[in-house]
Subunit: 771 residues, 2 copies
Amino acid sequence: MALSDILNGGDWLIEETGFDPDKANFHETIFTVGNGYLGTRGTLEEGHRGELSGTYLAGVYDHNDSTVIDQVNAPDWLPLAVWVAGTRLDVQTCMVVEYRRALDLRQGVLYRTTLFEDSEGRRTRLESLRFASLADRHLCAIRLRIMAENHSSEVVVESALNGLRRNLDRLPVYTDHPSFHAEVKWQKWAKSRHMGEVDADISGGGIYLEMETLDTGHRLGYGARLATPVGAVRSRRRDYERVAESVTLQAGEGVPVTLDKTVAIFTSRDVAAGDLRTRCQQTAGQGFEDLLAANAEAWHAAWDACDVTVEGDSAATRAARFNIYHLLIAANPEDPRANIGAKSLSGEGYKGHVFWDTEIFMLPFYIYTQPETAKALLLYRYHTLDGARTNAKANGFAGAQYAWESADTGLETTPKWTADGKNRIWTGEEEIHVTADVAYGILTYVTATGDWDFMRDYGAEILFETSRFWASRLEHNAAEDRYELTRVIGPDEFHEHVDNNTFTNCMARWHLLETVAVYERLKAEGASEALPKQDEVAHWREMADAIHIPIDRKQHLIEQFSGYFAREDVPVTEWDENDMPRYPAGYDHFNMNDTMLVKQPDVIMLLYVLPDAFDDETKRANYAFYEPRTLHKSSLSPAIHAIMGIEVGDPAKALTYFNRSAFVDLADNQGNTQDGIHAASAGGTWQALVFGFGGFRVKDGRMTFKPWLPEGWSELAFKLHWRGKVLQVRVYRGSVEFMLAADAEMKEEILVFGQPETLTGGSAVSVPIPD
Amino acid sequence: MALSDILNGGDWLIEETGFDPDKANFHETIFTVGNGYLGTRGTLEEGHRGELSGTYLAGVYDHNDSTVIDQVNAPDWLPLAVWVAGTRLDVQTCMVVEYRRALDLRQGVLYRTTLFEDSEGRRTRLESLRFASLADRHLCAIRLRIMAENHSSEVVVESALNGLRRNLDRLPVYTDHPSFHAEVKWQKWAKSRHMGEVDADISGGGIYLEMETLDTGHRLGYGARLATPVGAVRSRRRDYERVAESVTLQAGEGVPVTLDKTVAIFTSRDVAAGDLRTRCQQTAGQGFEDLLAANAEAWHAAWDACDVTVEGDSAATRAARFNIYHLLIAANPEDPRANIGAKSLSGEGYKGHVFWDTEIFMLPFYIYTQPETAKALLLYRYHTLDGARTNAKANGFAGAQYAWESADTGLETTPKWTADGKNRIWTGEEEIHVTADVAYGILTYVTATGDWDFMRDYGAEILFETSRFWASRLEHNAAEDRYELTRVIGPDEFHEHVDNNTFTNCMARWHLLETVAVYERLKAEGASEALPKQDEVAHWREMADAIHIPIDRKQHLIEQFSGYFAREDVPVTEWDENDMPRYPAGYDHFNMNDTMLVKQPDVIMLLYVLPDAFDDETKRANYAFYEPRTLHKSSLSPAIHAIMGIEVGDPAKALTYFNRSAFVDLADNQGNTQDGIHAASAGGTWQALVFGFGGFRVKDGRMTFKPWLPEGWSELAFKLHWRGKVLQVRVYRGSVEFMLAADAEMKEEILVFGQPETLTGGSAVSVPIPD
């Protein structure tokens, strides 16, 4: 039986054929395996020149001499190299006769097969299966199958654990002046080292390595075992920050040899530092077949809750699953102190920092398919509340201000300069809407799950503290007797230092009013101890009512910020091969401030996140105005345009926008997939399917649906968790069908095209779609 | 001949009698020897438990893992320890029978004598002379004399160079939350290491050690030789980051043994890194007597230009000289890329960072007595202009913004938190007047020296770039049609986030107008290439004229900032043993914002620095208002009050204020002299003597004098450099006498009590002092 026999077919496979060094780093990203506890890039087991390998452990950050704090490039558990008659099998040393890899999304397993030919004409095939277990997140495994195709030779296999890792640090800043330290640093001390060895052991039945992060003091323990055929001669060695185990065996022509490397990983974030070695050594070495079966079972359960399929568009199904796969391996419901970096655990872009991407783009997927994971992600915000308090204080404000870029403590970690040192980055100071976005995540979660315990125990404290931030950040304009927010950046980052960004002002207002409502409910329940004083809450309400929101109710046109309409209306005249706008001649990211061009939805974003707050005419008018002025220079942009285009009745580009979002990594549309997956776009893709084509919204606390299918799609199927129940939705061309599990009950009606429907467990309800 | 025979007497000696461990760190500061290239604290040669030893090399900074960039605690050249019959002579191991030290200010030499008795009753006297040469700033020397008083023993002397140094880093920040890195860092990785060894040599005629700073990459080379009596047995050893030379010799009872340690120090800031070893080895080992004589000669020349004496108050003379001594060893006319830290080169307080202290408090001393040094200090601002440009850009402004705390590059280096992590420090963001203070230093220097070349070559560029900063920082208040500066801190740091601090607004206005004048002169001279455009200059003038300066010309009272008069008028009710106000009950530095209490002169400072801009009535009214509300919680405060009290005709407290300033370190009035000399107070003390009692001012480009002597003073004598000439001033009780050197000419008249006087070289002019 070939190793590939276990692979699923159909729309579950992402494949690579032939080794292309120029695309190797891209494939490393998309072939990442993981489980939310860790992510390991799809580097070949034997490595190759130019690789960007990396294993990242959620929540393990370290600063040391990096420009900003890094998600640590943790010890590498992959190394598994083969020598045939003394020749190393790798793409540098041998000729690659045949090469194929396939990621099986259904069970999170990466398969590879490579036929190497050495200079003596010896052909040897390596096949492997690799996964990070979703059943037990501390376990990883590789099965390696070696086949000497035209020779019989001595084969040496080395399995290693390598702690000699470095993070990429795209220094220097201030390159244009030789006296600046960073320049010197770059030339002479360039390094982002984050670990030192504290323990290693090769005396037991395997190898063990323990590293410690330099600033943060996390202990990272790795134990590995190598199961080999009887008769293999084994040796072990301990080098500096690296341990390895080698076996020597005879490979007969045409006789496959199979070895299993199993690895256990624990850190002092999970278990006591003193127990790490024991835990790792005891856990490593379980049988590969059992691990594989348990992992497949866990994956099947996960997919059962979140699979989305498109009949009639196989590529769309595969892309949807690819994005969902990367969401599934990005978060861990068992870890309430970690969150998802902008590039998940699949690369070093944005250094593992957490943005609004989580709450606004990714969280809906988790809320409606994996609510326990959503809860863990929100608990991270609770556990970093002290960091947010420090941010507020550091900026001269009260309460708690969430960081635009957050790492392990919640402190602001946005770099101040672009990597070339030429442009100041202002988002850390000015993109303050993130604090409201966190509140938005909390409210959305509690509404969808009904988990009021979460609100009482954690959410309310966040809402109160963040409301205190807004109350101190809002500036009173005495002349107009209103509150304003000056010198901010909205979602559209082309425009810096703007006053009264409508998105930000509306979200701050909404945030304060929702907090008041939560306060009222808690007070009614009799909670009093930790509640704010009545006066303070009354003041929040007054301020909220007086926040300047410049919407012309007659024109229906919302000005993105004060003075936006006076900026130059530079037209877009060229589009790229993906039908996305190009920068007009003479423009780039850093000189857009004086134009009306928009990087990504800002007013349109507002219309999306607060669907109850604006009427249809307003949505239509603003979509018509802003859509042609949006350059989509963020992977967060297209999905929102797909959704809102459908909502306002202009779905012409919806499929284009959807594909742009769904394939941003598979097609490397932004050219930087090598830095890691666009996790927000993955979440946006799910939202485009469910909120766009599925037409799902929550309004007034009720589920509502207005689905619409693009041409060629015959069925769109997805599931939604809602207050403990699972609703299966199937959109057909002429109708939409809803079904609850047989034993489920749902008292509240849902609205389908504005009409209420009652759902009963086990029986499908079908509603026609109007033309 | 005893070593002490070379000491000067009279008012030139600062003495310590008896070793008091509690005051040891205080004495280390006040007994610092140096020459502006380096400063070495007065630690005993053999060290002692609890010492805070340190040698600091001007301009040698490094960041590495410190909270903010440090002036590096450089390799220590002092170590010279003695063992008698195997017992180490130091204050821990032996009984101290006799102990005296004396710093001879006249020649910058520190003398010590100590009689140790060991547990066997052996009495041994150590005497030493120590200096850092002012004649050749790369040379340091120690003569050690050992006298076995009641025994004959084998004596071992070890001379070392020690690179194993650490800076103090008063972390942690964020102490109240266990998950913050800094806390972890403090517990586990606390260190401020700034160097690593790159070379060492013990093969030649001495010992050599070369260290490299970690981030900044400066190479620091130290070579030392030890001259010993014939017959001493010599050995050398090289340890990790430390080299040493030992000699063993026989000391006969009553027969003194003399050894000379001579040290040469060069860095890659001075010479090519590859030449360091050769330069150090060649330079070390000159004869002690010659070095001592050359040093004394250089010191005599320095004192000739700047000595200030008070007849009738010996303590005042000694204190004046002590302060001047510390100014003389703080700056190096040969280094245009270094400046003076707030604690000079005498300690680690403020980490060697440069403040407005230089331009406003210290620079006048250098301008009027050592103009070449003043020029070097201002060139530092020129060489850090790129850093100032980066600051402006980092803060969103144009041009160049000088850092509130500046180190080697001019980048802002103010820490954001107090050492206990509890209070945010806002000066880095808000105390923006420092940019105008730099301009003030430049204009004052050029006016006093007539060095227009400096203005043309360096000063003008600074003025133009800093004016661009002000033009972008000034905020237009459309309602009032005026320019404002909001959210600033003035000199009075009790009040943060204030709007329209009058000191800052006036200085910005003055800065712009002076820049316009410099522009006009350069333009008239035909310089055009590097000049700003006419339009830009016209705009500066318009803005300057429209800056809001809230002075009520009728009331004569200046409001320190918008809304100051509405703050609570908390009275001072208690004074300390120095007659200085105490904080009112319930108040400390961090809760003064709502009161009218002032940390240090702010409005009064303005009246001092811009003497032409305000009439006498305004000065009187504001002194009367603000003086009782000033707590002098800065060592910069008393000197200014001494000066302005005399100016407004309220000199009752002038002597008290003067003494408070003059003795701040000698009496350790602030309790933190152990961290280093209050260099600004040293400069303020000189100003109190010359501008206060000497009544000197420059008005409309002319020297003016209105001297006043306190009771008990019969003569105050000082000298002033003025446009290449030296003016000797002697203030007597009834008259004041001016004398130019015989060959000097001075065309411009001076004003004495408002009357013009013409000075001729070689003949004294005496003017009576009105009652």
